[in-house]
Symmetry: C2
Subunit: 447 residues, 2 copies
């Protein structure tokens, strides 16, 4: 984990937020490589949900919502963590993190306070004067923005049940104990989809989305053995949930939730119907039945998806027991840069030719030109950035306009005419598969 | 304007936030068409800035930053609007909106208070207990996230001056008088690029970015006569600015700022150097000179860009003095849906064939299948959504696998083999030009 955090900082994936001021706890900034990786995760999820199927619509609701939304959702009353203070060292802890009775995990004194309930929503004041301004909250989850727009989306998109609404956006939770790098932050991003169904079909769609979401992580290269389902026991279920399963990933710090699939029943629309006075029931023209739809939710964290993609891609390869290279085996569709273009050496016009080539490919996909240092060192830099392909302009290029195309994972090189390079890269991108241990160029686990 | 707002709501571009609870002032939700339009604006800006050039890097910094950032930037002390209250009707106004001396614009009484300075930053509390938690602010602009990451980005990306850093993200301002639909909201999204230059080159780059940004709006279809530059007079300049020019658009409510280009001098890096104690100067290896870079900023609002694209696209076409159709003339690259696939009638397998065709094209671009109502009515619906192309499966299709391809703007139809449809649409998308008044299918102004 330390190695990964260090690589993320060194290569510009992730920085501590406001680092020059000593940082701000549990907020993170994405650097040049990180923001492109994150944008790719978001775009692939969005395309899968809204473009490749006709039964899911997208929305983008505001972070600041009417405060009654959070009364209806139950967050004002019960979105709390139990907290204790140590009267000696003044530190604060989540009550469930206290292992030994009454004893402070930090200073060891038996001077812990009683348990208090602490609401995790950030609040702020809207309107010009604080004293009489409306208290509003930074949303702690994006899904409520979907529920309150259910009728607007249904009527304008002319969708019939079953159908879904997808959203990507920031949420905020004033966590008592954030941590594990970007796994649990106070500011984070979610990708949530709410699928509205007839109550009798809820179980069927729960199974459907559970499989569908697992398949998505596998499709983009996460190793199968690092993913599992974990069913919530009935005493673990949130107040709104009838059934819940987590997709878990084995992070360097253990198996943790990557995404939750929930059968929320009719809780959400019923509550918003009650608190808003608006009829949020659905009338089925075919069966002449009126009902409150059940909701099957797929709720994923983008930052933790990113951390899973980063952890899973990280690899150290050894030659003769010595570290040969650090390589990020991203799926090419996730990789921040698709193709590096390099002159073998900076002479005889190889650099100019490589620059021209790189320039001409920019409209196809993100590219990178590098002529600093030896070719081996430049390949290693791209391996660390997870760039799946490298094209090198050498002396033969000057003769016949072909370049070598290098594969990050296998390190194999083939010769490709410059004019066919974009197509060759596209084809390799579509056909990419995660290599398994034992194959050349694969992860060497545990060495 | 009313017509546009109504179309936005009716067709699912933009809804009032938390509408079922009576709305929340000056926050807006983007519906299914709106979110795709907005994503397209963001993606095209991002590609132009970070992918098509090698001297601009992207980042995504957190909304919650260290509070000292806002001391250094000057926001804690001076990001204020002068405000007055009316002692009779209790309404509040921006002092600069009061036209008649001492007289309330709402109730007409001469009972206005003295002017008070009101800070526009939203504040919240980070940490478990409000009393001793850190006061943090929702960022009122995204650019500070760029300045504090200047060193991190420069060193990890190995960029040399001149180079830029681009960012897209939400900002928040507790405006006293928000309004004009999505033009001025309390929660809004920005696309900002900060270009770091040698002080002696600041004027040159100011001119460069001024022209570049104007060209961007023109490229994506805004009519030339609706755009203009407006130079800030020296007494109008913000405290950090040496020079400033607005790109203005003629909205239905007048000429207003769409984007600002600013020469910020060395103000930002000097202030953050002073407040953080970190050396943010730059050493030029070639000239052996050390200096604080000047910053040329391009600061655009995404919501107001959207409003400009929406306003500019809106058109009513008349036939024999009667309204024939409402059409959104979006640039095809901005349009939420690229291609509608329609069966001429729902029989003889035309519907199945059209569905198969639509399904096969989803991986290329956002498509839409519609078989509800007459073909004329379905075309009109797509015109309103701004869908640039429509493919219709008719009886001839069943014979020879060709479809009609209809152009939204000219309403001309050509026959295209089904297998060439994706390519034909891509080609039309690349070659699209905004039609001028007087040409068939163009806007009929003022009718």
């Amino acid at each position: 984990m330390e190695k990964l955090v260090s690589l993320c900082k060194r290569r510009g994936f992730i920085f501590q937020s406001s680092e020059i001021y000593g940082g701000i706890n549990a907020c993170w900034d994405y650097g040049p490589l990180g923001v492109n990786l994150k944008n790719n995760v978001k775009r692939l999820w969005w395309e899968e949900m809204t473009q490749r199927r006709d039964d899911v619509e997208g929305i983008d609701a505001a972070i600041l919502m009417h405060p009654t939304v959070w009364k209806a959702s139950g967050h004002v009353d019960s979105f709390t963590d139990p907290m204790v203070d140590c009267k000696t060292c003044k530190q604060r802890f989540r009550a469930d993190e206290i292992k030994k009775e009454g004893q402070c995990p930090s200073c060891g004194n038996k001077t812990l306070s009683d348990i208090r309930q602490f609401n995790l929503m950030f609040k702020t004041f809207m309107g010009p004067v604080e004293e009489d301004a409306a208290v509003v909250y930074l949303r702690p989850e994006t899904c409520q923005g979907i529920y309150v727009n259910f009728e607007n989306v249904r009527t304008t998109s002319r969708q019939k049940i079953p159908f879904g609404i997808a959203q990507i956006g920031k949420s905020f939770r004033n966590e008592i104990s954030p941590g594990n790098f970007i796994f649990r932050s106070r500011e984070f991003e979610q990708m949530e989809m709410q699928y509205f169904v007839h109550p009798s079909e809820a179980d069927k769609w729960f199974e459907y989305w559970k499989e569908k979401r697992m398949a998505w992580y596998l499709e983009f290269g996460i190793r199968k053995e690092k993913l599992r389902f974990r069913d919530h026991a009935s005493d673990e279920l949130a107040h709104y949930a009838r059934r819940a399963v987590d997709i878990e990933y084995e992070f360097p710090f253990g198996w943790k939730e990557l995404e939750g699939i929930h059968n929320r029943g009719d809780y959400d629309l019923s509550r918003h119907k009650e608190f808003s006075g608006k009829d949020l029931s659905y009338f089925d023209d075919a069966t002449k039945e009126r009902f409150i739809p059940y909701i099957i939710e797929t709720s994923g964290g983008i930052d933790r998806a990113l951390l899973a993609f980063l952890s899973d891609a990280y690899d150290e390869e050894f030659k003769d027991k010595k570290l040969d290279r650090v390589v990020m085996h991203f799926h090419p569709k996730l990789a921040p840069i698709k193709l590096a273009v390099l002159p073998l050496v900076n002479r005889d016009g190889m650099d100019t030719k490589a620059q021209e080539l790189e320039h001409s490919l920019r409209k196809h996909f993100p590219t990178f030109y590098d002529d600093g240092g030896t070719i081996g060192r430049r390949y290693r830099r791209q391996d660390e950035a997870g760039t799946p392909f490298g094209a090198t302009v050498d002396s033969q290029t000057l003769q016949d306009d072909t370049v070598t195309l290098r594969d990050r994972d296998s390190m194999e090189q083939i010769r490709v005419p410059m004019k066919d390079l974009a197509e060759a890269v596209d084809k390799k991108m579509e056909g990419w598969e995660r290599r398994v241990p034992g194959v050349k160029g694969s992860r060497v686990p545990g060495e």
